[in-house]
């Protein structure tokens, strides 16, 4: 079981938090803070598993994380999950985001937190892994986006226009943050 999925940036600002077990809001924030402190002080060339984290789980739980450019993706999982498997899952998640947002960067996650949630819900449901095949995931997401577009139709056109005007000033150059190359081992991994 996955207990929580957290995404935060290099300064500990949460970009996505999904808890599959209920914690109240202040405890959620504490968990995010504690996790950030644990993860952020680690070098990039050390292993991606971390025991500890007193607030969430206990001894059976591990933090498994990956660090991409400005973002940390942290999964808190128990011993029924395979460590390397979860690392691959994070990779699938990030690659899916990359496909959906075309060169994903932190700003995409900031301004489309809801979309990120919808994508995540196609990978993990209620703490269990739902789908790991990226093509299937993408197909599901695109079908849902189609429905949303259909529903929006004419009535949403003005709103889209307004938001298009509003978002004109997002500097495009921030988008140039790229994901690092994937380790070969993960590319070999087949689902």
């Amino acid at each position: 079981m996955i207990k929580a999925i957290l995404v935060f940036n290099n300064h500990g600002k949460p970009r996505l938090s999904k808890f599959y077990q209920y914690f109240d809001e202040s405890l959620q924030q504490q968990i995010i803070k504690e996790t950030f402190q644990l993860v952020s002080k680690r070098d990039d060339n050390v292993c991606n598993f971390l025991e500890g984290g007193s607030l969430i789980g206990g001894s059976d739980y591990k933090l498994i994380y990956r660090h991409y450019a400005t973002l940390y993706f942290v999964f808190c999982v128990d011993s029924s999950e395979s460590e390397l498997g979860i690392l691959d899952l994070i990779q699938v998640f990030v690659e899916t985001l990359d496909k959906c947002f075309e060169n994903v960067c932190e700003l995409d996650l900031i301004f489309h937190a809801d979309a990120v949630h919808h994508i995540l819900s196609e990978l993990v449901m209620g703490g269990m892994v739902l789908q790991t095949n990226m093509n299937d995931i993408m197909a599901r997401i695109e079908e849902q986006n189609k429905i949303v577009k259909q529903e929006a139709g004419i009535s949403a056109a003005p709103a889209r226009a307004v938001s298009a005007v509003k978002s004109m000033n997002i500097p495009q150059q921030i988008k140039d943050i790229k994901l690092p190359d994937l380790p070969q081992a993960i590319k070999d991994f087949k689902f």
């Binding site: 996505l16 739902l130 849902q144």
Partner: protein, 1034 residues
């Protein structure tokens, strides 16, 4: 009309903030984010009041974002439900997302949602149902589970794989909240294991793995299906899950493990995916652990695992390295030899830059040490400790150093002088560690169990007492003083300069009460020893000065705020004063009549002799369970109050005796309460001037500290400051080495303990030739030399210089290996307990198994039909279940599992026999009989034993203060001392002395005749109430 609506929408939307605006606004208001968000929340509240669903939807989307920042949005629950119920997918999705983020199973609003969610689940649009399932999985409540279980089960057979997949996963959440759903839903779930869609299949495997992880025995009959899946599937994700599941099942059924080895080995050889490889290795390890005996060629599998793990550990990827070490530690438990072959690799990992990896390597280290390399490894660890940052890691290192040295009764420690030096170095290195108690225990254990090292120990401890500074930070390192003081007192006979040690102990210092108590007690021991020396020398003036000196210094302890210290100090003063009175009469007589020369009065001699008698007699280690030897006397009720507890005061002062960890606090608490009694008793022995002086000091202090935060007299403050800040002044005694040149070069950079390592290396380099030479230089006791000499040098291993006394005071019929299980692990709130449901899997099983393991017809006839056997098994199971339920609560988890296994035996029989059909198996009845035997012998007595154990634990904690008194030989201290008059206490003392000497004799007898069955309470000498850890390792 339509145009108007669009227009209205347009204008509303123009002025509302959407999610993007909110995020941008928050980013632009970094300085006053909280204020900005609170205005936003006000706006959202406005929007939620409007009728337009799009506006509400927008508001809820914003709320979801705000929730992530830590704001409670449950107040908008009703609006969220409104948005969820929208017919538009866009809104529905936003609504369910918000609900999944902020609703929880206890939300009362959830009862409003039942019908709405049911409608969504049955929607024509698969994504409506999908979104509902995703949301529901996060907040499903027991009520919702009950009401919706049927709808979700229907979805499990939907035509759309997407919904089947989600419904299957959803059922797990339903089971957790509503366990009754498991039985009816299980056949369908099992069907899904063979679903044509791989995603659904994988989901079903996932759910069953989660179920089986907590209650493996119920799912053992599914093994054949999983076996088939494992050999046919190519979905790595699913394979990993299945292999993990087998890892959980094999401990219950070793024969399954045998069957698994071959396909797993094949997978290990064939797969390119590291994650799958790793899980295969893990499960093979689990299999090998469960069938550690009786498998002829399993060494090949072990070798394969270890080899593959070596490849992982050598990989440059830190993750693989970490996992490799993790798996190694599992092998180490059962096959230490195979791991030891890779010692080089593991030792190399100790220097890895990654802390997680170093910690994993440390876990393996205890299996890597030998007599030969222990010193070197410890040296490396000490080096790490100097360099390491982060107290948690340093603490872990310290713990590991002690663990590897102390394992199996110091099996690998050849030189205890070295070990004591290491301990002292640890104390100096790690003044802030929380393992002070552990080190103290080690010091005591070594000093008690290794007689020949005592002389060295007392001198080291004297230095430690002299130089150790109690720092202001709250840590536990001062506990070592407790051990040090006890050692110098108990083995005072070994001291070279007992007077110096006595003065160190008498120095006024700011220490926690329980340590001061030990100080006082050991001052008496040292005093007794010195007085005996004076007697032998007929040195009357010396004795008089000694008495006066100690009496004077003890006044400081008399004024202690700790009632225990006062008590002990007062008794000590009384005793010494008594001696002093005798002496002064004789000196007076001497002054008057010069003809009688230097005669010590016989009464004084008697007192001194009796005092020494108090402390003679060897203390031997006591087994942790020795308490059991004491029969509970008739009419003694340990739970009963001896005196009814007074309302408040006593609680605060007695707490200082009970929890030593909070000594600084409780000492101050007790301070005021103890004053009355202190004054009264002081008047007996103090002159009015002294009394006045003390009172003045106290008044000054109290005026300085209105809250009475410090309870030590001010006099101690000044002397404390300048006495103990020079750690560097520890006198270092250098032993001359035969490789003097080398040693001299290194001396500047090495630690004290290193010289032993160098000695050892030197000894190895120059074997026989230099042996005699070296021996002459070593200042070892004759006994050692004999041991060293007589042992043959044929092996490369260094010979132990010291012998560890492993005699333990053990009650009969108690074995050391009794498990000390913790109750804490057993969580009564675990939802999985409710899911421990017997599932009638077997009748479905038969065809699947047949197809899986293609048996011959003859085989089938030999075995009874699976259904028959299962029927019988089930009946038996039910009977046993009744029995089991009764004491279920009391049992600890492991016992729990074992008993489950026992029950399982019968039920599993048929299926496993099927799996095993092509290998010859012993007759089923034979197996179940033996396993039953095993289990009854281990499991059944455990429940009462466990109970007993608990009781014991309580006892020992109750007696902790008592144990302290006995251990330090303080039987002279009468707890009710307040009322005791001088005469009464004298009588009491005499009585005790007699008892003590009787006890001694008895003890010697019992020692020689090994452990006798009937032992009086008097034989209980629990050294300082600390049980030695090494015995538990045994």
């Amino acid at each position: 009309m339509a145009l108007k609506k669009v227009k209205g929408n347009f204008f509303e939307r123009m002025f509302d903030k959407n999610l993007t605006d909110l995020v941008r606004g928050i980013r632009n208001n970094k300085d006053n984010e909280a204020k900005y968000i609170s205005t936003c929340i006000e706006e959202i509240k406005q929007e939620l009041r409007q009728d337009n669903i799009s506006v509400k939807c927008n508001a809820v989307a914003k709320l979801t974002y705000i929730q992530m920042l830590g704001y409670d949005i449950s107040w908008a629950g009703f609006n969220i439900i409104e948005v969820m119920s929208s017919s538009r997918f866009t809104c529905k999705r936003i609504g369910y997302l918000a609900a999944s983020q902020c609703f929880h199973p206890d939300s009362e609003l959830l009862m409003l949602t039942t019908n709405m969610i049911r409608k969504d689940l049955n929607s024509q649009n698969q994504y409506d149902a999908g979104v509902a399932l995703s949301g529901l999985s996060c907040f499903i409540s027991p009520d919702l589970s009950r009401d919706l279980a049927n709808d979700i089960m229907t979805l499990m057979s939907s035509t759309k794989p997407y919904l089947r997949m989600k419904a299957v996963l959803m059922m797990y959440k339903v089971f957790l909240r509503y366990p009754e759903a498991l039985r009816p839903a299980f056949p369908k779930l099992k069907e899904k294991l063979e679903d044509p869609d791989p995603g659904v299949q994988s989901a079903a495997v996932n759910v069953i793995c989660e179920l089986a992880r907590k209650n493996p025995k119920n799912y053992l009959p599914l093994a054949p299906i999983f076996f088939k899946l494992m050999t046919t599937s190519t979905n790595n994700w699913m394979l990993i899950k299945i292999i993990k599941l087998f890892g959980a099942l094999t401990p219950l059924e070793p024969r399954l493990g045998k069957k698994l080895i071959e396909p797993l080995t094949n997978l290990i050889h064939s797969t390119s995916a590291m994650s799958l490889l790793y899980e295969c290795i893990n499960t093979v390890i689990a299999v090998l652990i469960s069938i550690s005996s009786g498998m002829p060629n399993h060494s090949a599998s072990i070798q394969l695992c270890v080899q593959k793990l070596r490849i992982l550990i050598e990989d440059s990827d830190q993750n693989l390295k970490y996992l490799g070490l993790l798996a190694m530690s599992k092998i180490l438990k059962t096959h230490p030899k195979s791991v030891q072959a890779h010692k080089d690799l593991i030792l190399a990992c100790l220097d890895d830059k990654d802390e997680s990896i170093r910690l994993r390597a440390l876990d393996l280290l205890y299996g890597m040490v030998s007599k030969k390399n222990l010193m070197e490894i410890v040296k490396r660890l000490l080096g790490h400790m100097e360099r390491a940052e982060g107290s948690a890691y340093r603490d872990e290192l310290l713990y590991k150093v002690i663990e590897i040295c102390a394992q199996s009764s110091y099996l690998y420690v050849t030189n205890f002088e070295w070990y004591l030096t290491v301990l002292v170095e640890l104390i100096q290195l790690e003044a802030g560690s929380r393992h002070g108690r552990l080190i103290a225990e080690q010091l005591l254990d070594v000093a008690i169990r290794v007689p020949v090292v005592r002389q060295f120990a007392v001198n080291e401890m004297t230095n430690l007492l002299d130089t150790f500074t109690v720092s202001a930070q709250s840590n536990s390192m001062y506990e070592v003083l407790y051990a040090a003081a006890w050692i110098v007192g108990e083995f005072a006979g070994e001291l070279e300069d007992a007077e110096k040690t006595l003065n160190i102990l008498l120095r006024p210092r700011l220490l926690p009460g329980h340590i001061q108590g030990v100080y006082v007690q050991n001052v008496i021991k040292l005093f007794a020893r010195l007085a005996t020396t004076c007697l032998e020398l007929q040195d009357l003036p010396g004795l008089v000065t000694l008495c006066d000196h100690v009496l004077d210094k003890l006044q400081h302890f008399n004024g202690s705020s700790d009632i225990e210290v006062q008590e002990r100090a007062n008794s000590a003063c009384m005793l010494i004063e008594m001696l002093r009175n005798q002496l002064s009469t004789s000196t007076d007589a001497m002054a008057m009549d010069t003809t009688t020369e230097g005669g010590i009065p016989p009464l004084a001699i008697e007192i001194v002799q009796e005092m020494t008698l108090l402390f003679t007699g060897e203390l031997i280690p006591v087994a942790p369970k020795a308490q059991r030897k004491v029969p509970l006397p008739d009419g003694l009720d340990l739970d009963e109050w001896i005196n009814a507890p007074p309302p408040e005061d006593a609680a605060s002062s007695s707490s200082s005796e009970h929890d030593k960890d909070e000594l600084f606090v409780s000492a101050t608490q007790a301070g005021t309460g103890a004053d009355g009694g202190e004054k009264r008793r002081q008047s007996l022995e103090l002159t009015p001037e002294q009394l006045e002086r003390q009172r003045m000091a106290r008044l000054i202090e109290q005026s300085n500290n209105p809250h009475y935060l410090k309870s030590t007299p001010t006099a101690s403050g000044a002397s404390n400051a300048d006495q103990y800040d020079n750690i560097d002044d520890i006198p270092i005694t250098e032993l001359p080495l035969d490789m003097e040149g080398v040693a001299a070069l290194r001396v500047g950079i090495t630690k004290r303990s290193d010289k032993y390592l160098q000695e050892q290396q030197a000894a190895q380099g120059s074997k026989d030739g230099k042996k005699k030479h070296k021996k002459g230089k070593k200042s070892k006791k004759a006994k050692n030399k004999v041991a060293y000499n007589s042992s043959s040098e044929s092996e490369g291993e260094p010979k132990p210089l010291h012998i560890v006394n492993t005699t333990l005071d053990m009650p009969e019929g108690v074995s050391m290996s009794d498990s000390e299980d913790k109750d804490g692990k057993y969580d009564p709130n675990d939802p999985h307990r409710a899911l421990d449901i017997e599932l009638d899997i077997t009748e479905f099983e038969a065809p699947a198994v047949r197809s899986a393991s293609k048996k011959s017809a003859a085989d089938k006839e030999n075995l009874k039909t699976p259904a028959d056997l299962a029927g019988g098994g089930n009946a038996a199971k039910k009977d046993r279940k009744k029995d089991k339920d009764k004491d279920k609560e009391r049992k600890v988890k492991r016992e729990h599992r074992e008993s489950k296994r026992e029950r399982k035996e019968a039920a599993v029989q048929p299926v496993i026999d099927l799996i095993d059909a092509d290998t010859p198996t012993p007759s089923p009845s034979h197996i179940s009989a033996t396993s039953n035997n095993n289990n009854t012998s281990t499991v059944l007595p455990d429940a009462p034993k466990h109970h007993k154990k608990k009781k014991n634990k309580e006892k020992t904690t109750d007696e902790a203060p008592d144990a302290l008194a006995t251990a330090t030989g303080s039987s002279i201290i009468d707890v009710g001392g307040e009322e005791a008059s001088e005469v009464a206490s004298k009588v009491h003392k005499k009585k005790h002395k007699k008892e003590k000497s009787q006890r001694k004799e008895k003890k010697k007898a019992s020692e020689s005749a090994s452990v006798s069955a009937i032992v009086s309470i008097g034989d209980y000498e629990q050294p300082l109430g600390i049980s030695t850890p090494s015995k538990e390792i045994l």
